[in-house]
């Protein structure tokens, strides 16, 4: 039987199952095949908050969403067109996100009484008509998987059942014409050492694929053509990996060994894990006793002439405040990566938010300004990390790099840069006296940066500390005028960082009188929403900030040139405060504080309402 092929411009698929069902694996494999096919894509895993909730419960549901298209896309998608639910709990937890009329593929084998009860269903939703609004496709995935793997030598029945995720992968691969070789090669590689498991996974995958091809349940399959893309080599990265690679790249480009000192905390731990694997680049990672130590150790490493970096999330940023203030006074390079998460205090550790901006800017006692950089997309974390390092080294200053849970976990294709195109970072260590017969650690260059003389350099011994320092010499000073001068010098130095910033890129349309101004991980959702508004005839421009402190020099003129400025943020309105204070424009705030990214549709509406 040949089936219809329909073309689709874009599709959102969500795989959902129990934590033990391997949904993240299915999602990643599907993503790779999609990437190789040349679709543009964006993905978002959705992990359970519990370590290992009891199997079959709502708390244990794990999901993975992928949005792919034949044109460029910007977010992992608001609502899936297709939901794969491996058990009743997965159905219950995710059905709400599925578009009305969307396709719902369930593993009907798992809808036994026990699982229904664990998920809190009183009746079987597959049978009570409650799913009538969707295209329900019931597939006995477990049975079919077990059948497909029968006869494999040495395969235990439990292991056979566990391959049902590959069945689902095969089925969806067929549905969207994903290349099978990519997944099959991955299975071959991954299970090379375990022939029975390898064979079972291959069999399950193929069974799923063939099921699509032959079963009468599915009348059509879809084609999503490759998206036009700039020539180049691509890989798929999430924000964590991109940040790690950016830091390593900055280390190589600067010649400064990378020293990450960190204390585990969700969702920043992954960066520690990732960098721990890169000893080959001389990367040292140290798990400190707490966040205060983590920051202090990194600062010590910077004093030693290395690239001191510390990573954390909100609660840890609180604890680092005093040490960051010391770094402001010492004027040493230090990069603090804050992977923002939701809520005050412990909050919702696995959820996203961008509510640490004001903390990053003002969260230290006294006047202690520092540059703040924010990444806008998973892949852009690479550039943002390099930029944070560049500023830290060039200006001898701590820099806070803001990412968030969404960026850390979400992934998208990344066109690999040429190493030679990456910024050069010159540590410009001081090696000689800079004054008559001596060394003044606070004699500044034209950018107001002070010299960085590292231990081991003969003749440049010096002592620095957190007490106010005399201009030039760095000796302790309580002189009122000196304090005023130093306070203004530190502020002026940070302000100078704006001089390096490229002009703000504005995505303009003819006649727009409204600007949507964003920062951080909302870039994709804002851009997608702006597109939709324009498609509906709305005229609106878009700009996105990567340098949050100091603000780019052309921002004032820009925001003042619009009738209205809309600032969407995943907080209660933080950037908007800064913009209003700085430029006195009556910028309008659109906020969402739900631990979730913006949906394109809700932003589209919010913008429309304000046009």
């Amino acid at each position: 039987m040949t089936k219809d092929v329909k073309e689709r411009e874009r599709v959102v698929v969500r795989f959902a199952g129990d934590s033990g069902d391997g949904m993240q694996l299915v999602g990643s494999r599907f993503t790779d095949a999609t990437a190789v096919l040349g679709n543009d894509l964006a993905t978002l895993p959705d992990f359970p908050a519990e370590i290992r909730a009891p199997a079959g419960t709502l708390a244990g549901v794990s999901a993975f969403q992928i949005h792919f298209a034949s044109r460029d896309i910007l977010t992992p998608g608001d609502r899936p067109n297709v939901l794969v639910a491996m058990n009743p709990a997965a159905l219950k937890a995710n059905l709400g996100t599925l578009e009305k009329g969307g396709m719902l593929i369930v593993n009907e084998d798992s809808f036994g009484d026990n699982n229904l009860k664990k998920a809190g269903y009183e009746r079987n939703p597959l049978e009570d008509g409650s799913l009538d609004d969707y295209q329900l496709v019931r597939v006995p995935m477990t049975t079919l998987t077990v059948r497909a793997t029968e006869g494999i030598d040495g395969l235990m029945s439990k292991d056979a059942q566990r391959c049902k995720n590959l069945f689902a992968l095969g089925l969806l691969s067929w549905m969207y014409g994903r290349p099978t070789d990519v997944s099959e090669e991955w299975i071959e590689r991954k299970f090379a050492a375990k022939p029975a498991i390898k064979a079972a996974n291959l069999a399950a995958f193929r069974a799923g694929y063939n099921f699509g091809e032959t079963a009468e349940l599915l009348g059509v399959h879809y084609e999503v053509k490759a998206a036009p893309a700039e020539p180049g080599t691509y890989r798929n990265v999430n924000g964590t990996t991109a940040t790690a690679l950016g830091l390593i790249a900055a280390s190589v480009r600067s010649g400064l060994p990378l020293f990450l000192s960190s204390y585990p905390i969700t969702p920043a731990s992954e960066l520690l894990h990732e960098l721990s694997r890169h000893r080959r680049f001389g990367v040292r990672t140290m798990q400190a006793e707490d966040e205060i130590a983590a920051a202090s150790i990194a600062l010590g490493a910077s004093f030693g002439g290395q690239l001191g970096v510390t990573s954390t999330s909100g609660p840890g940023l609180d604890l680092k405040a005093e040490t960051i203030g010391l770094a402001v006074a010492l004027e040493l390079p230090l990069v603090i990566v804050d992977v923002q998460r939701a809520g005050p205090s412990t909050g919702m550790p696995t959820k996203t938010e961008q509510a640490d901006l004001l903390m990053a800017m003002y969260g230290r006692h006294g006047e202690s300004p520092l540059p703040v950089v924010a990444a806008s997309t998973p892949a852009q974390c690479f550039e943002a990390a390099i930029e944070a390092v560049r500023i830290a080294v060039r200006y001898r200053t701590p820099v806070i790099l803001l990412t968030d849970t969404f960026l850390a976990n979400s992934s998208e294709p990344w066109r690999l840069p040429e190493v030679s195109e990456l910024p050069e970072i010159d540590p410009a260590f001081a090696t000689e006296h800079n004054t008559e017969g001596g060394f003044w650690p606070y004699k500044r260059d034209e950018r107001l940066a002070r010299p960085w003389a590292i231990p081991g350099t003969p003749g440049l011994q010096h002592r620095i500390g957190g007490l106010e320092k005399q201009d030039l010499t760095g000796n302790i000073s309580y002189d009122p005028e000196n304090h005023e001068r130093m306070t203004r010098l530190r502020a002026a130095k940070v302000a100078k960082v704006a001089e390096d910033a490229p002009p703000i890129h504005v995505d303009r349309v003819e006649g727009a009188e409204v600007l949507v101004l964003g920062w951080g991980s909302t870039y994709g959702a804002i851009a997608a929403a702006v597109r939709r508004v324009r498609r509906g005839g709305g005229k609106v421009d878009q700009a996105h900030l990567h340098l949050l402190n100091p603000l780019p020099r052309d921002l004032g003129e820009l925001v003042r040139s619009y009738r209205k400025v809309i600032v969407p943020e995943l907080n209660m309105g933080q950037l908007v405060k800064v913009v209003r204070a700085e430029y006195l424009v009556d910028a309008d705030s659109v906020t969402k504080v739900r631990g979730l990214p913006f949906f394109t549709a809700e932003l589209e509406e919010a913008i429309r309402e304000r046009l």
Binding site: H278, F281, S296, I297, F303, G304, G305, T323, G456
Partner: protein
């Protein structure tokens, strides 16, 4: 990065041209007249030239407190950090730069109150640091509040009716935290301070040195029995590895194991020299050192000083340091390009 040399030692050979002057900065010392810190500073400055590490490869890190001012007076690299964090900052320096000799100067409040956690973690990790704890049993810089080493019932500005806290025994705490080198000395006893500093400098890994330091303004006389000439001769129990523990003006007293298995102070004449405990600083089990630490809970009578424990155990990340330095040297653009390309990639050809 310069070549890796452990603890900053210059291949072990002394630099005979160095003198005390090479380790003295041009900053005016600003402690109260009569403060015990002066004596310690002078001894440190006179011992440093002996150690074979030039000033530029020596780093002092301190926290906040009177003791913390120390770094300004030594002409080496230095950080006067924030309160309590010196061991952590110094860890970053020592770990990133194993070619340096890194010293921490800290007070009893700095090290044991706000900084207690960093101290015990540096010790357990055996980070190559020489940690000098200036214990004056008081907060000096903030003008006289009690500290975690002040005796219970202490009347200070923050405890006008007497403190409620039972104090730490710093030696015992360090031993409980797995310290590989633990010693104690007394500010004005320059010969002894120098000896202990030399031993600490020679130690690989963390060397923890408690220095009884008189704060003549807020806690004068706290260490009188072991500090003042005339009485200290009777009260200093000088521990020496491999030697029977004897003390007193004429060595007339000693330490022996009692009937209940615990240590006790005995008259040598009564028990005989052979009954004395022989000090063994190198015993892998820290229990003997711990017992000695409890021989005198406070320096109000006979009190052990010297090296309680000095054992070799792996220095934190020492091997790794060499490896990483090597790897970093090799890491180049090509390797980086390869790293960026790792994982599944695909190529979009030029149209």
């Amino acid at each position: 990065m310069p070549d890796v040399k452990v603890n900053g030692a210059n291949g072990g050979s002394p630099l005979p041209t160095l003198t005390k002057k090479d380790f003295s900065s041009d900053q005016e010392t600003r402690w109260c007249p009569g403060c015990g810190d002066y004596a310690i500073l002078a001894t440190v400055q006179s011992v440093l030239p002996e150690l074979g590490v030039p000033p530029e490869r020596t780093v002092f890190v301190s926290g906040i407190g009177c003791a913390g001012r120390f770094v300004y007076y030594v002409d080496t690299y230095g950080i006067h950090g924030i309160h309590g964090r010196a061991p952590a900052i110094a860890t970053g320096i020592a770990v990133s730069r194993p070619d340096l000799s890194v010293w921490v100067v800290t007070g009893d409040g700095d090290a044991l109150s706000i900084g207690g956690n960093h101290l015990i973690h540096a010790l357990r990790r055996n980070v190559p640091l020489r940690i000098l704890l200036f214990n004056n049993q008081i907060y000096g810089l903030t003008k006289g509040q009690y500290s975690p080493t002040s005796e219970q019932g202490k009347i200070t500005k923050s405890t006008p009716f007497g403190s409620q806290d039972h104090p730490f025994n710093p030696i015992a705490l360090a031993l409980g935290a797995e310290a590989s080198f633990v010693a104690r000395t007394v500010d004005v006893d320059r010969g002894h301070v120098a000896e202990v500093l030399r031993a600490a400098a020679a130690h690989r890994g963390s060397a923890f040195v408690e220095i009884y330091q008189n704060c003549n303004v807020f806690n004068d006389g706290a260490f009188e029995p072991v500090r003042e000439k005339g009485v200290r001769e009777a009260n200093q129990i000088r521990l020496e590895h491999g030697k029977p523990i004897r003390f007193g003006r004429e060595g007339e007293r000693g330490v022996a194991r009692g009937a209940d298995g615990g240590l006790e102070i005995v008259e040598v004449a009564e028990v005989g020299e052979d009954a004395l405990l022989v000090h063994d600083a190198k015993r892998p089990d820290p229990s003997l050192a711990f017992e000695l630490a409890h021989l005198a809970e406070r320096p109000t009578g006979p009190t052990p000083i010297g090296v309680f424990r000095a054992v070799e155990r792996p220095v934190y990340a020492e091997e790794l340091g060499r490896e990483l330095a090597e790897a970093h040297r090799r890491a180049d653009a090509e390797q980086l390009a390869e790293l960026l390309r790792s994982g599944d990639t695909w190529t979009v050809p030029a149209a």
